[in-house]
């Protein structure tokens, strides 16, 4: 009888410990911040951004977060966030949210007004802030831009930024006329951004120019 009692107690203790140890407290949610460049000639590419948004809406799961923000002359502002949502944990609600999100971004992208300057750094800082607030396990900033930063004389962005544990992915990095003349400018620009985001603590840097291969966004290299 005593042996049975001891065995039962041991089993209960093991189960309790197992249950406590099994609970995974880490966040498995993903958070994505999409920066859409609306400056100068790149504003013409805005309709392509909808493809990226559609892909993200189709891929993200209930509980994940998504925000779409525009890159303007000074992008470090909540006002530049066009749409943001943390999808409900119930799949049916999440689908409804995704439909609303899509409608909102479509309206925005249909009426994009080109801006004079391009503040990618400000958008990155704003994006990092948003992503860190979500508390998601995987944080990704997608930059839909030619990656040519063009700041006005007043805006200050030449300081180290923090992108700890954030993946940074540049999508549809088009070549400028000057890049066509000297490709080193293009490669140098991408290399400079690579070094900058890695120095800022980003966990990954990736460039995806083919919009048919957007599935590489969530594939770790």
């Amino acid at each position: 009888m005593r042996i049975r009692t001891v065995a039962a107690s041991f089993l209960v203790a093991c189960l309790a410990l197992g249950a406590a140890g099994c609970t995974d407290s880490r966040s498995h949610a993903q958070a994505v911040y999409l920066l859409v460049d609306t400056s100068g000639t790149y504003a013409k590419q805005a309709d392509k951004a909808q493809l990226v948004i559609n892909y993200l809406l189709g891929t993200l799961n209930p509980g994940d977060s998504l925000a779409v923000a525009r890159v303007v002359s000074r992008s470090f502002s909540e006002k530049d966030i066009v749409a943001k949502a943390t999808f409900d944990t119930r799949p049916s609600e999440a689908n409804a949210q995704k439909r609303a999100f899509r409608a909102k971004t479509e309206t925005f992208l249909r009426h994009v007004q080109p801006t004079a300057h391009t503040d990618i750094t400000g958008g990155l800082i704003q994006g990092a802030e948003f992503l860190n607030e979500t508390g998601a396990g995987t944080k990704t900033v997608i930059i839909f831009s030619d990656m040519q930063e063009d700041l006005d004389k007043v805006t200050v962005r030449n300081f180290p930024i923090r992108l700890d544990h954030i993946r940074v992915i540049a999508v549809n990095v088009t070549k400028l006329n000057t890049d066509n003349i000297d490709p080193r400018l293009y490669l140098g620009r991408l290399d400079a951004w690579h070094k900058r985001v890695i120095a800022a603590g980003a966990s990954e840097w990736k460039v995806i120019n083919d919009l048919e291969r957007l599935n590489a966004i969530f594939r770790n290299s």
Partner: protein
């Protein structure tokens, strides 16, 4: 770094240095021969002893476990055979009740029919009346000579005519009598048929009872074998347990397949209830665990139903409940099972709706418009899922039967495998002990090879001493102390 020639006695002459050092070492080793041999022997005992001891202990444990397994197996076999005999007797009682209950009636009917047939037969035996005595008179008259007299001739003609009339009458009577007998015999036929049918029925009943009795005999023979604790009975029961184990494992694997399909049906809609973003482990969602719990609860309800119906006997407390309580339990378990099956069916429908919603969203996000599939064909998967969702919980309820077989046979199979494992371990330990002992002997011999020169010298001295002593007494073989170091 030290000087590499430091160890040399004569740094200029390495060979000589090595030789001298080897000789010194040999002498030193010879001096230490007895303690070194003792050390090696001791090491051998130290290592080999526990190994041998462990092997012996394991052998004892295996024998004890085997005896225990046998006792459990035989007890289990006796209980099962007893139950089987009980069931056979119940069957026999039913047969006797069903077939022999009407036996008195049958016997009465049989006797009545036999009596009737006998009576009829007797009636058939009634011969027609014999020809009248006038036959002799006719013969006598026939012998009368007419003598040509007209009177006599007329008388004779008259007599002939009357005789012919009487003969025809008698013949007709005779024929009628035979006709009656034939009709009586014809009347036998239904009785004969009835008798034949009745006898066949009796024969069939008796055969059924004989077969049932033979089955009881066979079970009784097995029971006697088990009661006698014979090895044959043990072997039979073990084989039976292995077969049961394999069959139960296969059926349970099939049931697991069903459970997996069930799980797939309700895992997605469960995320609608408990959320899709909670994880218990890195890859296991809370919604999946919830679905799994529902399936396990269904299986448990099925188990309770089977237990309450006394089909399985995993919980003696349930089977020992009084009939009223047991009936209540059946109804409660069945109601819960029915409710869960309904929930699952609804979840299956919800799954279909969620997938359709997701599909619609993806189609709206896609650049190319999707082909819309409307019509009754599109509803078949939905209906199929709902039906599956409703049926699978009831199908899973029957898992209790193979589960019981699996658990019962697993004790025997596991015990038998454990015994073999312990025997194998004991054998391995015994081999290891022998290897240690032989290695120790080899090392002792190798040690003697290293000090071969001093040993040869010892030989020679002993031989000379032995030669000198040979004249005085028994000669001593010096090899006894050198060539058999372990003796």
């Amino acid at each position: 770094m030290g000087n590499p020639t430091m160890w040399m006695i004569w740094p200029d002459n390495a060979a000589l240095s090595i030789l001298v050092l080897a000789l010194i070492a040999m002498v030193a080793l010879y001096a230490a021969r007895a303690p070194m041999h003792a050390l090696l022997r001791s090491a051998s005992y130290t290592l080999g002893g526990p190994l041998r001891l462990a092997a012996r202990w394991l052998s004892g444990v295996a024998a004890e476990l085997r005896a225990r397994n046998k006792a459990v197996l035989l007890a289990q076999g006796r209980r099962e055979t007893g139950q089987r005999i009980e069931r056979e007797f119940e069957r026999l009682a039913l047969l006797v009740q069903r077939d022999l209950q009407g036996y008195p009636t049958l016997q009465r009917k049989l006797l009545e029919e036999i009596t009737r047939v006998e009576e009829d037969y007797k009636k058939c035996g009634e011969v027609p009346p014999p020809p009248p005595d006038w036959v002799d008179a006719v013969s006598a008259v026939a012998k009368i000579k007419t003598g040509g007299g007209e009177v006599v001739q007329k008388i004779l003609v008259d007599i002939r005519q009357s005789l012919e009339g009487i003969h025809d009458k008698a013949l007709a009577e005779y024929r009628r009598a035979y006709q009656n007998r034939h009709s009586i015999l014809e009347g036998f036929m239904p009785y004969w048929r009835s008798l034949d049918k009745t006898m066949k029925q009796v024969d069939k009943n008796m055969t059924g009872i004989q077969e049932a009795a033979a089955a009881v005999d066979a079970q009784m023979a097995t029971y006697k074998e088990i009661a006698a604790r014979s090895d044959e009975a043990e072997s039979q029961l073990t084989n039976s347990a292995f077969t049961q184990f394999a069959i139960a494992a296969i059926v349970m694997a099939v049931a697991l397949g069903g459970a997996f399909v069930n799980f797939k049906l309700i895992a997605l809609p469960m995320s609608e209830m408990v959320g899709a973003s909670d994880y218990i482990t890195a890859t296991l969602r809370t919604s999946e665990v919830a679905a799994l719990v529902i399936i396990l609860v269904e299986a448990s309800m099925g188990l309770f139903v089977m237990e309450s119906l006394r089909i399985t006997h995993l919980f003696p407390r349930i089977s020992n409940l009084d009939d009223r309580m047991r009936r209540r339990m059946i109804w409660i378990s069945l109601s819960l099972l029915f409710l869960l099956a309904g929930i699952e069916s609804a979840l299956a429908l919800m799954r279909d709706m969620l997938i359709a919603d997701k599909q619609a969203l993806l189609q709206s996000l896609a650049t190319t418009p999707a082909v819309v599939n409307e019509g009754w064909l599109g509803h078949i998967p939905t209906a199929g899922q709902m039906v599956l969702g409703f049926i699978l919980p009831f199908a899973l309820a029957f898992v209790a039967v193979p589960l019981e077989s699996f658990i019962h046979s697993a004790r025997t199979v596991g015990g038998a495998l454990l015994v073999h494992l312990i025997y194998a371990l004991g054998f391995a330990l015994r081999i290891a002990a022998n290897v240690v002992r032989q290695a120790s002997r080899a090392l002792v011999h190798a040690y003697d090879v290293l000090i071969v020169l001093p040993l040869l010298a010892e030989h020679t001295i002993h031989a000379r001493k032995g030669g000198a002593a040979g004249d005085e007494g028994e000669r001593v073989d010096p090899r006894e102390s050198t060539l058999h170091p372990l003796s």
